[in-house]
Amino acid sequence: MIPGPSNPNWEKVIAGEIKPNIEFLGTKILLGRLILQYQGNSSAGTIRNCIIELKNFLEKNLNVPKVQADIKSIFGGTA
């Protein structure tokens, strides 16, 4: 259900290029932090770590309906 790390929407959401609607408070707080981290250092290493952190978070909370909605919102039809 969750696309692999090569899906371009991971980077787009962390770089603030897309702004999907997010429902789950945990996703909002984590994403807010990851975007700040990216703004402070947009190296390939930072992006890779941010994607891993967000992906791990979503995977751990996959049974939460709001998180399922967040995933759909980030990836649209590809999720």
Partner: protein, 329 residues
């Protein structure tokens, strides 16, 4: 799910019956409780069924619901608190209490977003405090009821395991919005600031607040991807030309001064979703909301809980109502 004030004898009966409890009360009454499956933090202010109330003899009790599979208590110090998210149950949530003004409070406030598995598991809780008249005289504390350990610097967590068909959903109610006005950023993280950038221009922040007649009851608000996160003002130190906060400000975050709220109680009522109390497990509200909104004797819909020196919903918050519901999936 029970969330209300009880007298000491009733709480002793619950503990002796083997119930797992989250408690809030004055230090002296908590010290008289027997060992058992409970955690507690010191505070004599509560939002009870009839409204806001102060009591040094009653204890606010949150009982675990019947659906809970199990619970366990874990105590952390300033260093080990970095494991707080990692140690959370695979399916469930944690309730944490940390004493105000302790090193652990400071560490959690400044660095929790760097801890392993930050926000990956639901964590709700609060910062313990004291009667306002006792500020600076008595230190806030937390209790591990399993050993009756009293902790001035550390964190106590009750990890709660849920069955697969239940989830914990943490939410916040914030009266304040990140909308109009100057954009404020800070050059470094911290509980105080001398300098800030106002719309990109470097200024002494104390001078900015004074010159613009900013009401210090209104917090700084940051928009963290739609979650409005407050940082409350503690005071302006005119001699040092420094502004002190109840939570840290962070470098790189865009803050705005919150807009004035006309009627706190009406706004709370409007912002608390209908039906929340049916599945409510725990909630807490900030002492600053209690004071500034004059909540003594007033209700915030059906939400009850301790009035706290800081709220935790994944991370430290100020001037916010935090709550967790247990939902079917």
């Amino acid at each position: 799910m029970t969330n209300k004030l009880f007298d000491k004898e009733q709480v002793i009966e619950m503990i002796n019956a083997g119930e797992s409890l989250i408690l809030a009360g004055d230090e002296n009454v908590l010290k008289e409780l027997p060992a058992g499956a409970w955690i507690a933090g010191t505070i004599p202010y509560f939002m009870d069924k009839e409204g806001g109330v102060s009591s040094c003899t009653s204890i606010f009790v949150t009982q675990l619901p019947k659906c809970v599979l199990g619970s366990s208590v874990k105590v952390y110090d300033t260093k080990s608190v970095e494991n707080i998210y990692r140690d959370g149950p695979e399916h469930g949530f944690g309730v944490v209490i940390i004493p105000a003004s302790s090193k652990t409070h400071s560490s959690f406030a400044l660095d929790s977003h760097k801890y392993e598995d930050f926000a990956s598991k639901p964590l709700i809780g609060w910062i313990s405090g004291v009667l306002l008249e006792d500020l600076g005289k008595i230190s806030p504390k937390v209790f591990d009821g399993t050993t009756k350990q009293i902790i001035e610097d550390g964190a106590v967590v009750l990890n709660v395991e849920l069955p697969d068909n239940k989830i914990a959903d943490i939410e916040i109610v914030n009266l304040f919005e990140h909308k109009d006005g100057d954009t404020i950023t800070f050059p470094k993280n911290g509980f105080n600031a001398k300098e800030a950038f106002i719309n990109g221009e470097k200024m002494n922040f104390a001078d900015y607040l004074s010159e613009n007649n900013i009401d210090l009851k209104l917090p700084l608000v940051a928009d963290m991807y739609g979650a409005m996160i407050n940082t409350s003002f503690q005071s302006i130190n005119e001699d040092e030309k420094q502004v002190d906060f109840y939570a840290p400000v962070f470098e790189g975050v865009n803050y705005k001064i919150a807009a004035q709220t006309e009627d706190y109680v009406k706004t709370f009522t409007k912002n608390i979703p209908d039906g929340v109390s049916e599945n409510l497990f725990f909630s807490c509200n900030c002492i600053l909301n209690y004071l500034y909104a004059e909540l003594e004797g007033k209700k915030t819909k059906d939400l009850t809980g301790p009035i706290t020196f800081g709220e935790i919903a994944y991370q430290l918050l100020n001037q916010t109502l935090a709550y967790v519901t247990i939902e079917d999936v």
